[in-house]
């Protein structure tokens, strides 16, 4: 990957969240990701930016897509990538997160990519290690690379983010994707709406600078981007919403509801999708859907993040 014009332009040791990033920080990452897209589309995809570096993917929650996306990103930059999932670690045997962090730290990795079910767990780990840490999702808190890849996808298809109406729909309450996206898209000047039944909205969400809609038809009106969120199975039956069919009726994205959005509206989903729950197959596979492109952008964004952090690593 060609070196970016201003190597000091991403002044962070870790990527723990979108919160705390400035607009220029975000734009640097997106610009670098554009270059990574080009690299990934060549036959020869491998670069030497992270040659000799060790990347550990530490996933306390299993996630095939995110983990393989980070793995591919690291390998394309030349890093040695090691995947650790909880099932293979001693965490299940009662070792604490901090002990795990200290043990891994002793192996002298250069970057650790962490996913954990608890909000703040990645911050905790970052305080105990000497290397760079990337948050690959912590509880209901943040999932910064997802928000970056969503922004990149939007920017490439719309040419801009400033001034767009983005509707984020579904289980906002439990969604780290929603939180990171709200912060990032607002920082880049988009107008963000959230659309959900009140039982799936966090308290005080309106104070995060979004417009709140409990009626999806109103929430989609004139939207330039419709971002759907996954509804976890255990929340479907009576806990937060009465049933799958009722949820799909009022909050599932089908062709009829999508017709209320701008005719050129983009449809996005962080995956994995529940077809027939939050999204209808005809829409998921339809001409407005960018769901597959999001996956491609995911690798590019993660390459950009790893490269940006690598520049701040010692001996670079």
């Amino acid at each position: 990957m060609p070196q970016h014009k201003n190597p000091a332009s991403f002044p962070h040791r870790h990527l723990l969240g979108i919160e705390g990033l400035s607009r220029p920080d975000i734009e640097v990452l997106l610009d670098m990701a554009e270059e990574a897209v080009d690299v990934s589309r060549q036959v020869e995809k491998k670069r030497a930016t992270l040659r000799g570096r060790t990347q550990i993917n530490l996933f306390f929650e299993s996630s095939t897509r995110t983990q393989s996306s980070f793995e591919l990103a690291g390998k394309r930059l030349g890093a040695d990538v090691m995947n650790m999932s909880v099932a293979n670690s001693s965490v299940k045997k009662g070792e604490t997160l901090i002990d795990t962090a200290i043990t891994l730290n002793a192996m002298r990795p250069d970057v650790i990519v962490v996913r954990h079910s608890q909000a703040g767990a990645v911050h905790l780990l970052a305080r105990k290690v000497d290397c760079a840490v990337v948050n690959a999702g912590d509880g209901a808190h943040e999932h910064p690379t997802q928000a970056l890849l969503d922004a990149l996808t939007i920017r490439r298809n719309k040419g801009r983010i400033e001034g767009l109406n983005v509707a984020i729909c579904g289980d906002i309450l439990h969604s780290r994707v929603a939180r990171s996206n709200i912060i990032l898209l607002s920082a880049l000047g988009a107008r963000v709406r959230v659309v959900a039944p009140s039982t799936l909205l966090p308290t005080g969400i309106e104070r995060m600078g979004v417009d709140v809609f409990r009626d999806m038809k109103m929430g989609l009106k004139g939207a330039d981007v419709v971002m759907m969120l996954r509804l976890q199975r255990e929340r479907m039956n009576g806990g937060f919403v009465p049933s799958v069919r009722e949820y799909f009726r009022y909050f599932g994205l089908d062709a009829e509801k999508l017709a209320l959005a701008d005719p050129k509206a983009l449809v996005m989903h962080p995956g994995p999708m529940n077809r027939g729950v939050e999204i209808d197959s005809s829409v998921a596979d339809g001409p407005q859907s960018l769901i597959r492109e999001q996956v491609e952008m995911g690798v590019a964004v993660r390459m950009a993040v790893l490269e940006a952090l690598a520049r701040n690593m010692p001996n670079m």
Binding site: H116, Q118, A119, G120, G139, A140, H141, R179, T203, R207
Partner: protein, 431 residues
């Protein structure tokens, strides 16, 4: 014991009497476990030459603090705290009486456990350690504890400590039965379903951190129910730890209606707010959760006007291992015995409370509610006395705390107020 303790005179102090609010330059003579003389007339010149004299150099002299809510680890959790370590922390912090929480292992639901605690306190405690007993057997919320026998053994109040009685019928019977014995029912108010999985105050900040919140209603719904049951039964009721404006309204209404109700809040809820959690600091994870700054101020005002009767330390030692976890998985609780006075003095220095109001809520009122003679600066009262300089600055060093656990929310905080001398029954517990 008292006859072997030499008398001691504290002179040249600023006597602060929580009962009257009076501040007088003068001294105190402690002899045979009680206050022999007190007031402006007690000066160095009047003290017999063979008596030990402490020149207080203008420091405050006041009754020792009475803490109604502290976990001391015995029996069953001696790795977290013992009576010896808790009372050393207490003595260092100016606390001369601790009421211990009953959620031990086994719980304090049997007169033999009360007896055990009293003997351990006598043999290993540097301050007075008084057991509370459970309100229901095994803290299971089903059958009423042996309130009469437990009182006879020395239990000073009854509480299921951190567990709320779900069953209103059980609560009604407990209050009714306790009334016949004049027993004090202490209750921690938290609706278990509303608070389920909650780890911090519900609101914008919790939403931003991605943490599950506990709404104020989890506390106030349980408290409101209890007020109806107190009205129904006439039982004496003390809300162990309230933390919300809604609860203040409920207590105010109950008191205005003449119900036999008192309440406490914790030093944490008076001096910290949810923002202090910052970057997921687990030492600030307490139950009920720290609330918003406006709420903290409302609680401080309620202490000033006496609506909140008592300030507790809510001392809850936790192993570092159970705190060095992601916020959602970490244990609740913070140590507080040793820092409660200096933390409370923050409210005095900020002008929210007068010194006498603070000391009233930390000594006289809890003593009155428990039916103890402590908290008074008068002849014949127990010589549980402290001398402290309310202005001397220090920085909290967790490693220097006497508690076996170092989970203080005031880690490296700047404080003012240093205890110079603690007397329990006229004997030096800490100097």
């Amino acid at each position: 014991m008292p006859d072997t303790i030499p008398p001691i005179a504290l002179v040249n102090g600023l006597l602060v009497d929580p009962a009257t609010g009076a501040q007088t330059r003068g001294g105190v003579i402690a002899q045979d476990g009680v206050i022999k003389a007190v007031g402006a007339a007690v000066t160095r010149a009047d003290v017999p030459v063979d008596m030990r004299i402490v020149d207080c150099k203008g420091d405050v002299v006041a009754p020792g603090l009475v803490d109604m809510l502290a976990f001391v680890g015995e029996p069953g959790a001696e790795s977290r705290e013992t009576i010896a370590s808790a009372s050393a922390a207490a003595a260092a912090g100016g606390v001369t009486t601790i009421v211990t929480r009953a959620d031990t292992n086994p719980p304090v639901d049997d007169p033999a456990v009360v007896d055990f605690l009293r003997r351990r306190a006598r043999d290993t405690g540097a301050v007075r350690v008084l057991p509370s007993a459970t309100l229901t057997r095994g803290r299971e919320g089903k059958e009423i504890s042996e309130i009469g026998l437990l009182m006879e053994a020395g239990a000073v109040c009854f509480s299921d400590a951190g567990r709320t009685l779900r069953n209103a019928q059980t609560m009604r019977r407990a209050l009714t039965y306790a009334r016949d014995f004049g027993a004090l029912v202490c209750h921690f108010c938290e609706d278990r379903d509303l608070a389920a999985h909650g780890v911090m105050n519900e609101g914008e900040f919790a939403s931003r951190l991605g943490l599950t919140g506990v709404p104020a209603e989890a506390e106030s719904i349980a408290l409101e129910r209890d007020m109806r049951l107190v009205a129904l039964t006439g039982g004496r009721y003390h809300a162990t730890l309230i933390s919300t404006e809604q609860s203040l309204e409920i207590i105010a209404r109950a008191k205005a209606a003449g119900l036999p109700v008192t309440c406490a809040t914790s030093i944490n809820h008076l001096t910290l707010n949810e923002n202090d959690i910052g970057d997921y600091r687990t030492f600030l994870k307490v139950r009920p959760p720290l609330r918003r700054e406006e709420t903290r101020r409302a609680l401080a005002h309620a202490v000033a006007d006496g609506l909140i009767d008592v300030i507790v330390s809510d001392h809850d030692p936790q192993d570092v291992e159970t705190k060095r976890l992601p916020f959602g998985e970490a244990e609740f609780g913070a140590v507080g015995l040793e820092t409660m006075l200096s933390a409370g003095l923050r409210l005095v220095h900020s002008g929210d409370l007068k010194l006498a109001q603070l000391l009233r809520a930390m000594s006289l009122r809890p003593a009155e509610i428990l039916g103890l003679p402590q908290g008074r600066l008068e002849v014949g009262a127990p010589a549980d006395l402290i001398r402290f300089d309310p202005h001397e600055p220090y920085i909290v060093d967790p490693e220097k705390l006497h508690s076996r656990c170092k989970n203080t929310p005031f880690d490296e905080a700047r404080m003012q107020g240093v205890v110079k001398l603690t007397l329990v029954a006229g004997a030096v517990a800490r100097e």
